[in-house]
């Protein structure tokens, strides 16, 4: 096993999720098997569309910030700013209140020659896939015409956030659809290893919009179980009928282990693997080999043997095609070891947060590692016989967990796996 002290570790977390906007609340709801789903009804263009969704409560402005200016920001900006602030503060780093009424110019020096956060170079890598479409829709809903005018000067959410917080490191937006945030974590880990930054905020964000809901509905990817929304997200269950959309954001603060002296260490980011199906823009491949290769690559990267994996946080969104494809990939990788490894899908409680899903599921793994309990797959009443796994239905399972892996797969045939190791 690799020496954890030489690695990259998580020293802070910030979250706005359907299960709570702080880590203790999220952990308690996750282990209690709480569903965040409820029915949301859109009435646009004279057409009613009712869907079960998992929404997050609006974040409050951090203490000392201009609450009115914060409230006036687009929701996606509020989510990311609140999460970045919380993650920095959780890592013990100072966060001076930003000026939210104007946007610092990219070429202007931050007001502090001495870095404001106590670390000279903090980067930001954000998983955010449909950012421009959602931004244009939000602007249009407010009467704006940004999408029609085509100025082409649209800054990304990561860039806007980095400037507002005075982060001196690089900013990057990455997208692999529902695997986006795993890539964000990987890029941040590499930046630290390569010496490009001293710390890095990584994670993902997803805000639900009416058009986004309609697009997935028309794809026939969503559960239509509006009569019983809290039982709608049922990964691996025989009676599943699609996924439940979720929204929120989660940000992790990464630092070198040997630079995180005296700080709380949630876990080591031990490995990452990725592959592509090369099959279809939407539908997962029937061939388990590409997804299996992503899992194997992550384990190799982490120097972890199959038998050392104590928990698998599955991508399992609650679609028959996707759940079965993942079960086949797990069987191909773990073989006879698979029946010993607990597998759960926390999307049964949070819904599917798309671009933010991998970040929220990394949080779920941190909870599992810290509390030594496997979060359950709720609503798993009749396991699909084609998903023969060691399920953790309905209730959390006390279990010794040193190594957890989190699968996240996405449109465009992206497969990713993250390996997290318990802090020494």
């Amino acid at each position: 096993m690799a020496n954890a002290t030489a690695g990259v570790v998580i020293t802070g977390v910030g979250l706005v999720t359907p299960l709570g906007n702080d880590y203790p609340t999220f952990a308690a709801n996750l282990l209690a098997g709480t569903s965040a789903a409820r029915v949301l009804v859109d009435r646009d263009g004279g057409v009613e569309l009712a869907l079960p969704v998992c929404q997050a409560e609006d974040p409050v402005a951090p203490a000392g910030w201009d609450a009115a200016a914060f409230a006036a920001l687009p929701r996606s900006q509020r989510l990311v700013l609140a999460c970045c602030h919380a993650a920095l503060e959780d890592a013990g780093l100072a966060v001076p209140p930003p000026d939210l009424t104007s946007l610092p110019d990219a070429s202007s020096k931050p007001p502090h020659r001495s870095p404001p956060h106590g670390l000279p170079r903090i980067g930001l890598v954000l998983g955010s896939g449909g950012e421009m479409l959602r931004r244009w829709e939000g602007d249009w809903m407010q009467g704006g015409r940004e999408v029609f005018e085509g100025r082409g000067d649209e800054q990304t959410l990561a860039e806007l956030t980095g400037r507002r917080l005075g982060l001196a490191g690089p900013r990057l937006t990455v997208a692999a659809a529902c695997a986006s945030a795993n890539y964000a974590i990987e890029v941040g880990r590499r930046w630290i290893e390569q010496g490009l930054v001293d710390g890095c905020l990584v994670g993902g964000v997803e805000t639900l919009t009416a058009i986004c809901r309609a697009a997935f509905y028309n794809l026939r990817a969503l559960s239509r179980r509006t009569d019983d929304p809290q039982r709608a997200s049922r990964p691996f269950d025989r009676d599943r009928d699609g996924f439940v959309m979720g929204e929120g954001a989660a940000i992790l603060m990464l630092q070198r282990a040997d630079a995180a002296r005296g700080q709380r260490i949630y876990a080591e980011v031990a490995g990452f693997g990725a592959s592509s199906d090369a099959s279809h823009m939407i539908i997962p491949s029937n061939d388990p080999a590409p997804a299996a290769e992503a899992i194997r690559a992550a384990l190799r990267d982490a120097d972890v043997e199959f038998a050392e994996v104590d928990y698998i946080n599955a991508h399992a969104t609650s679609t028959p095609v996707g759940d079965r494809a993942e079960a086949r990939a797990l069987a191909e990788v773990f073989g006879t070891a698979l029946p010993q490894i607990p597998v759960s899908s926390t999307k049964s409680m949070t819904g599917h947060l798309l671009s933010a899903a991998a970040a929220v599921e990394a949080l779920a793994c941190l909870v599992a590692l810290e509390r030594q309990q496997v979060p359950p797959t709720i609503n798993l009443e009749h396991p699909d016989p084609e998903c023969a796994l060691r399920h953790v239905p309905q209730q959390a399972l006390p279990h010794a967990i040193d190594v957890a892996i989190s699968n996240s797969f996405g449109f465009g045939g992206s497969n990713t796996t993250l390996v997290l190791r318990k802090a020494a």
Partner: protein, 285 residues
């Protein structure tokens, strides 16, 4: 822990391809799949693709053909695509329809085909590549973000090579409420083929240098670009894929090497050197 004052690495450039097309030309390109697409690829694969995806495919095709890149090698490379404001035309058209007819009017292709991951995802399928694919940026900083993201992953992963495909519309489409263009936008793409293992002859390199010491922090996004021997005059304020496409095309035709460098935040500097025209261009000359 002692760290060197500067870190850096460079990756050989095996070739590049550029492409641009106005909207009628994009419509024509949709109907033509590259010769290297897998045989089972449906003929309508690009029917719903974003305009930037369509020119991205053309740029990769040109890179493969001009530089005679070995298909068996380039199919194993990760694909990083850095589009800028992808999905504007589809997004505008969707808003207009949605206002009138609500949810049923929204195309199921909107998110799969017009999001940040869409360009790299489509290229991955067409190339038959099982290596990772991902989208980067999507905003005004797509050039710097794309180059930085690519180099970060190539340096961190044990991969034989990689594709970076940058795309943009310039001018950006000006659209009516119904999503109809009232100007003449053009889609641009540049494909850079990075080959770490020398499967193809190098024609340049892409490098990254980073100052580690806090005193070396630079706060600006300054850019210097030149086509040796006479520095090129640049018309736009920030680096754009369209501008780089034009520069590479000019270098190809003139036979003059192209050098470009971007200094990002935190002392990160990216350098691109494209040293010679392609074998195909030399043969034509």
């Amino acid at each position: 822990m002692d760290l060197p004052a500067e870190v850096g690495f460079a990756v050989p450039l095996a070739g590049w391809g550029v492409a641009w097309a106005d909207l009628p030309e994009v419509a024509a390109l949709r109907r033509v799949l590259p010769a290297w697409a897998p045989a089972q690829t449906p003929a309508h694969f690009l029917k719903h693709a974003d305009e930037q995806t369509v020119v991205a495919v053309a740029a990769v095709d040109r890179a493969i053909r001009q530089w005679e890149l070995p298909l068996e090698a380039v199919r194993q490379w990760p694909i990083v695509a850095a589009p800028q404001c992808v999905g504007r035309i589809a997004g505008a058209a969707t808003l207009g329809r949605f206002a009138r007819g609500g949810a049923p009017t929204v195309s199921p292709h909107l998110i799969p085909q017009h999001s940040l991951h869409s360009v790299s995802g489509a290229l991955s399928i067409l190339l038959g590549s099982r290596a990772p694919n991902l989208g980067i940026s999507g905003g005004a900083g797509a050039v710097e973000e794309g180059l930085l993201g690519l180099l970060t992953l190539v340096a961190g992963w044990n991969v034989p090579g990689a594709w970076l495909v940058g795309t943009a519309m310039e001018p950006e489409p000006q659209l009516t409420d119904e999503g109809q263009c009232v100007n003449q936008p053009r889609a641009w793409a540049v494909a850079l083929a990075l080959d770490r293992q020398g499967a193809a002859a190098a024609c340049g390199q892409l490098g990254l240098h980073a100052a580690r010491h806090p005193s070396a922090i630079l706060w600006s996004g300054a850019k210097e670009t030149s086509a040796d021997p006479a520095p090129a005059a640049l018309a736009v304020a920030g680096p754009r894929w369209a501008e780089l496409t034009r520069q590479l095309e000019a270098a190809q035709h003139s036979g003059r090497p192209l050098q470009a460098a971007w200094t990002l935040s935190a002392g990160v500097r990216i350098e691109l050197a494209a040293a010679c025209p392609s074998r195909a261009a030399r043969a034509a000359a």
